[in-house]
Amino acid sequence: MKNFKIKNDYKNFVKGLLSLNYLVIAPKYENGILKFSKIKNAAEILSPSEYINTVSSTKEYFFPQTEPVIKFTFEGKEIFLKDVEIGKKPKVVLGLRPCDAASFSILDDIFQYEYKDEFYFTRREKTIIIGAACESNDESCFCTTTGLAPDSSQGADLFIEKNNEEEYFLRAVTEKGERLVEQLIAEVEELEEEPKKNPLYEKIEKQIRKKIDLIEAKKWLDNNFENEKWEELSSQCLSCGSCAYLCPTCHCFDIVDEVNYNSGVRRKNWDACQFDLFTLHSSGHNPRDTKAKRYRQRVMHKFKYYADRFDKTLCTGCGRCIRACPVNIDIYEVVKEFAPLVEQN
């Protein structure tokens, strides 16, 4: 795959991107918080050095909080169904960190498991992911545990890095990515050689929380469905669900019909396993009726069940759940209880 140097500065590159009639989505401060938002002009863009990561992940652009699945109308005594149209405009999501970019390989798996979710994939196929290597980190980051690094390009179509001369260059990861760069040839210039790795990334990797042996962790989980630790680990949880709503890989949803007098819609709305009504049956029975059971489900799903099925963890170490938890439940510390750290040299 090819590499390209960004000729002028980063903003100019984005300007070029905007001129291609893509919907460009990138980190931007809106109402006081940093989140992935639509970029209207290049001046709004933040360069990869200007942020650590956004508050919420990019999943809402593929799997929105609320999404109509089917619509219907009543006319007299008849009911008419109507399909929902999905946005057709091609998009570029720009500036994802490795932990977010990697989430797509996870979501892709789950949204085509046994049934292909056309809503997700229609959007997915029309979107080009441009990742950006991390130039800083915070105390919550733990991507190395999940097998990632500040400069992993996994899941991205294009990946932005800094070379030794502190200049940004683009790494084409997929053909889709490469085709996009070809349209931007005025802004970039192909590099002959593979650029040298900037030592910054190694330095950050060392700053990140130490890697936990997830294989060992899974072994523990395999044998400890019943364990009083779950009670202890979850006792302070308030079931607020912030962890799941912010997680780039959590994907549970609820289906709800909303009916007015003369029309209605069936919707998919986000849900979260920590909510006490999450598995409540209409009979009144709830198989996961305690916080301990719900928290066990969360950890098991992330580090055991998903691994059993897809041989991956349902976590990219982005640290969002840790930052957001109002009572400081730290999934890294939790997993560390079950498994040793990996010796590193």
Partner: protein, 283 residues
């Protein structure tokens, strides 16, 4: 004076309480972790410092609701005790079920740098109600601020400015209901938004259904919210929920001369009335 961990140890050893809810060192530099300690060995963990911003009253209903015969001890700042008063007032707990380890508080911080906004208008460095009191009161050199100054400031805006402000803010809401979950007074087992027959508040996110939710939240807390600010802290989209809560508190204070969390015998203002209540808008 005894430290919190010593007190906790003693209480647990003497079998006087079934658990102690408190704070311990957090996993991140500017956070403390809430813990529920059930054995005296674990009591070592308990600390108190200026990062202990959480209101632990939440656990009295979330974790212990009438399940324990023995009381539960809780570490409480002056402001947190107001929530306990509210819970007693609303028959969720009985005073005897809680052993309050009151701490004299000199202000807490959410990020380790800035004082939490609620501390600027706090007059309760020493809790009004406690079973044992720890900590030293320091000369408070915080400039006291009118708790309603931001409400008054906001009210000066025009109708459209206010509407646009809230629409921008509420648009961010993803209906995770974390604000509700962390609220010590949102103790309902089944919240009105989880009720489906009928569904007064639609579960999807949109400005209108988000508005219904936030009106509901604010209104249900009117005269009950003690201003602990946990909802705003839990909101990862930084929606200024306290502004709404404070507005409600102000309305209730101005009209009915009532402040929440001060009297566990008082009637909640919206479950009460006076013949002399004044209004000027009913035709």
């Amino acid at each position: 004076m005894n430290s919190i961990s010593e007190i906790a140890k003693k209480l647990l050893d003497e079998n006087r309480v079934s658990a102690v809810v408190g704070y311990s060192i957090g996993s991140l530099p500017n956070k403390t972790k809430t813990v529920i300690v059930k054995s005296s060995q674990q009591a070592e963990k308990l600390i108190f410092n200026n990062l202990c911003v959480n209101n632990l009253a939440i656990y009295l209903t979330k974790s212990f609701r009438l399940t324990t015969q023995k009381p539960v001890a809780v570490v409480m700042k002056g402001c947190d005790v107001k929530s306990v008063t509210g819970l007693i007032q609303e028959k969720q707990i009985e005073r005897e079920q809680v052993f309050i380890i009151g701490v004299k508080c000199n202000g807490v911080s959410e990020d380790g740098k800035n004082l939490s906004p609620k501390c600027y208008s706090c007059k309760l460095q020493t809790p009004k109600m406690y079973d044992i009191l720890v900590g030293e009161e320091e000369e408070k050199n915080i400039e006291f601020k009118n708790p309603f100054s931001d409400v008054e400031e906001f009210e000066k805006k025009s109708l459209d400015e206010r509407w646009n402000f809230w629409m921008n803010e509420l648009e961010k809401c993803v209906k995770c209901y974390a604000c509700r979950q962390v609220c010590p007074l949102c103790y309902c087992e089944k919240c009105i938004v989880d009720k489906t027959v009928p569904r007064w508040i639609e579960p999807h996110t949109s400005k209108s259904s988000n508005l219904s939710w936030h009106i509901t939240r604010a209104f249900h807390l009117a005269g009950r919210c003690t201003g602990c600010g946990e909802c705003e802290r839990a909101c990862h989209h930084n929606i200024p929920l306290s502004l709404l809560n404070k507005k409600m508190a102000k309305v209730v204070y101005d009209n009915f001369n009532y402040q929440a969390g001060l009297d566990d015998k008082a009637k909640s203002p919206l479950a009460d009335f006076k013949f002399q209540d004044k209004e000027d808008f009913i035709r």
